[in-house]
């Protein structure tokens, strides 16, 4: 039996449910409401830029001299307003002709009506027929059915349970009582398309543990970087979102890298980095991150951000941290020393690096930093600390890279393409030599080059005379390294001397003698087959340079060496016994000329 209280209670519950469904339907209708989307800013007029782009490379320019003249004036000269208008009219006429010819004219050119445009850029929340929401009436209807189910299932007597149809209906209603009709058409909503992946500074301490020193370190590194980044981003906030994103990305990378490397460097040198109290400590620690960031982002001569990867950045930062721990003075009183060095490297080496392999720049920066701490007072004296151009390793790098990047002269045969690894091998050797002996960079009297420049130039000039296809770049690099080692041991290799009617540097004489006796076209093919192998040529060049460095670079010694080479060639040509080890031994024990 139905009593009034039941009905009132059911009425209240049902009312709430209906109101809730009504509210949801209203909210969903609002979500689904169409929006007119405004187009971004652009100039809708046909401009000279559109017309020049259209005509560039087109046959119309070639076929119509007047159009060609007009094009040249608009594209490269200073056209009058009338000429520009004439050019645009020409564009419109030729375009119609082209479109008709190509069958791409589809409709009238009448301007689009406001209403039509609005219709086209009026955008629904969901694609047509893809709304996950039930229609409003469906939702309310669903609620009404639910109310009905509640009513009939819970109010005894509302249905005649005794009839078979009544019992069946009640059972069915009870069985589906838990289903939410209103939600039955709901589909899964748009998936999660983006993640807030920014690693915040707050998350970073866990990487290093809760140690007191680590906390101080993180604070110092983060604070400096965050300040630097904030200032940068504020400057471009309203005018260049692209740069803002770039700053944000590099800021994160540098922060991660500094913190990632800090555990093995800063924390193992706490006295250097964290022993200083107050702002100085913060400045020294944070200078690594900020200086690297500034060098990457501010360099105008080359876009370093394109050259750095996570790995190269890590290596550079590690080198910077180690170098600073060895030699805190590198930071300078204003803590910008590191930035000056990196900036100077970019400016001085980018020209040659662009020709050779731009990817070497980050590695050159690392190498220069790594080697800087070893002999800092000589390499970058205190009085030049504000002038990174006086840093000897930067000068040395510029010197040899420029020589390597010089284009081959007419008649040059050997034109190597150095790989990044090969360039870095040479750089490692050259920089190590300069660290050991800065006099490599002393300019020779009456000669523009430094000793280093001369050694590289003479070696390359000789190697370029090797007929094509005889030695690989790898072998050439090994010979170049051997030549530098030879000059390091005996500077007289660069002295000029007369040899067979020609006066020139001993190093050049030696290398060309080797080429003449082993690699040239005049050499018997049987001899060349053995001696011109890359590995053997390298061993012979190394042994010759080494021995001459020992016994002295003289005309007589060079002649002795030539005899040994000629004899070896003769032995091989005539089929006599010949053994590489014996031959190398002979070179190594070459007697001193009287």
């Amino acid at each position: 039996m139905v009593n009034t209280a039941d009905i009132i209670m059911l009425g209240i519950v049902s009312g709430i449910r209906l109101a809730e469904q009504g509210r949801r339907a209203y909210a969903e209708a609002t979500i689904e409401r169409e929006l007119v989307l405004p187009l971004p800013n652009f100039n809708p007029d046909v401009t000279a830029g559109v017309a020049t782009n259209y005509f560039l490379g087109s046959k119309h320019i070639e076929e119509n001299l007047w159009l060609k003249a007009l094009y040249e004036k608009v594209a490269h000269g200073a056209p009058s307003e009338e000429e520009e208008k004439e050019f645009i009219v020409a564009y419109q006429e030729f375009k119609i002709l082209d479109d008709v010819k190509n069958g791409v004219i589809k409709g009238s050119e009448s301007a689009l009506s406001r209403e039509a445009l609005v219709t086209l850029v009026t955008v629904r929340q969901f694609a047509r027929n893809r709304s996950p929401y039930p229609r409003a009436f469906q939702r309310v209807l669903g609620s009404l059915i639910e109310i009905g189910i509640d009513y009939f299932a819970n109010v005894p007597g509302a249905l005649d349970e005794k009839s078979s149809s009544g019992r069946a209906l009640k059972g069915f209603l009870k069985c589906i009582d838990d289903l939410d009709f209103a939600q039955s058409s709901a589909q899964e909503l748009a998936r999660n398309l983006f993640f807030a992946a920014l690693e915040t500074i707050g998350e970073t301490p866990s990487l290093l543990g809760a140690d007191d020193k680590a906390e101080k370190l993180i604070e110092a590194v983060s604070r400096g970087l965050v300040k630097d980044l904030r200032e940068r981003m504020e400057k471009v906030a309203a005018t260049d979102l692209s740069k803002q994103e770039k700053f944000e990305m590099w800021g994160q990378l540098v922060l991660r890298s500094v913190l990632g490397n800090a555990g093995t460097t800063i924390l193992s040198n706490p006295g250097t980095y964290l022993g200083v109290a107050g702002p100085d400590r913060q400045a020294l620690v944070s200078s690594v991150g900020t200086c690297v960031l500034d060098a990457i982002l501010d360099e105008d001569s080359i876009d370093l951000s394109r050259l750095y990867s996570r790995e190269t950045l890590d290596r550079l930062i590690k080198a910077a941290l180690v170098t600073l721990s060895e030699y805190p003075g590198l930071a300078g009183v204003d803590h910008k020393g590191l930035q000056r060095v990196l900036g100077q490297v970019a400016r001085d080496l980018s020209g040659a690096a662009k020709v050779l392999c731009p990817d070497i720049l980050p590695e050159m920066m690392r190498l220069i930093l790594e080697k800087s701490a070893v002999n800092m007072d000589l390499l970058w004296p205190e009085e030049f600390r504000n002038n990174p151009a006086k840093h000897l390793l930067i000068t040395a790098s510029r010197e040899f890279l420029e020589k390597l990047s010089e284009p081959p002269a007419p008649g040059d045969w050997w034109t190597p393409i150095f790989s990044k690894t090969q360039l870095l091998e040479i750089a490692e050797l050259v920089l190590e030599e300069v660290v050991q002996n800065p006099e490599w960079l002393v300019k020779r009297a009456t000669i523009e080059n430094t000793i280093l420049g001369d050694a590289v130039e003479i070696t390359l000039a000789s190697l370029r005379k090797i007929p094509p296809g005889r030695i690989s770049t790898e072998t050439g690099v090994e010979v170049l390294k051997a030549a530098i080692k030879g000059v390091a041991l005996r500077r007289e290799f660069l002295n000029r001397m007369k040899f067979k009617e020609e006066e020139r540097e001993a190093l050049g004489i030696l290398l060309e003698m080797l080429i003449e006796c082993i690699l040239s076209d005049q050499v018997d093919p049987k001899v060349r087959w053995v001696l011109a192998r890359g590995e053997i040529f390298r061993l012979i060049a190394e042994a010759s340079l080494e021995r001459l460095a020992e016994i002295g670079v003289s005309q007589g010694n060079l002649l002795n060496l030539e005899k040994v080479l000629i004899q070896a060639a003769e032995d091989l040509r005539t089929g006599k016994p010949w053994k590489l080890e014996s031959f190398l031994e002979e070179l190594k024990t070459l007697s001193v000329a009287n």
């Binding site: 187009l39 652009f42 782009n53 301007a111």
Partner: protein
Amino acid sequence: MGVKRKDGVYGLKGVLILLFVVLMSGCVSHIQTLRDAQDEFNRAAFIENAIKMDPKQGDVVTLGNINASYRLSLKILSDLIREKRADLEKDNLVGVAYTLKALTEWRLGEYEAALTTIRIVKEYPANTLLPRDTAMVEALRGLIKNDQAYAHMVARDYSYGDIKTLLNESLGDMDKGLAVPGAGENLRLYLLMAKLSVLKNWLDLKGDRGIPKPASFNEAAEKQEWCEQAKPVWNHFVAEINRLGTQEAVSLEQGWANRLGMPGACR
């Protein structure tokens, strides 16, 4: 019994209606306010688009009206989010409100605020943003970059390379919006037109003698680069136009064809 039952049914009906009215009127004011903001935004966008296609219609008063409508929409939305955030969240309207706010801020040139708004809405669970709003949030960075590039072109205060970078990245960001599943054909058409607007700016940048070109500038290579970007956008745009198949759509295609020299420019 029968009368009693009849009275009961009438009573139920009355209670239901009364409750519905009371509950609805009290609980939906935030929804109504959001709709007001949508109306203002639509009004401004309607006029702005019309002026973009036909700048002669853009007198000072009209431009002022556009700005006023966007400003009013932003005020409504800012107040609404501040005062009724919980209600918006409960009704799954918070994504709609934030997206509209970000779009309004973009049109008013308040780019930092727009990006902040995006950042906030992205902190909500993924299903807070529905397809159109997701696509617009994804594409908004690109829309902003285009407008920044355009502003630099007008002011001629930026290098050719920097403006081109903004335009190129703008195209990439808009692709993120286009990649959102579930977005309707009109949204795709809108985003493609936005990309065509970027390409138009690039053409104007190339043709602007007041912005010096870098030493490495090569006309033919630049055109090729432009065409590599323009061709797929144009083909996609034409495919969408054909799908719509209306006379208005064809007129729209014709307008963009003239504006960009397509498809002939890249044949």
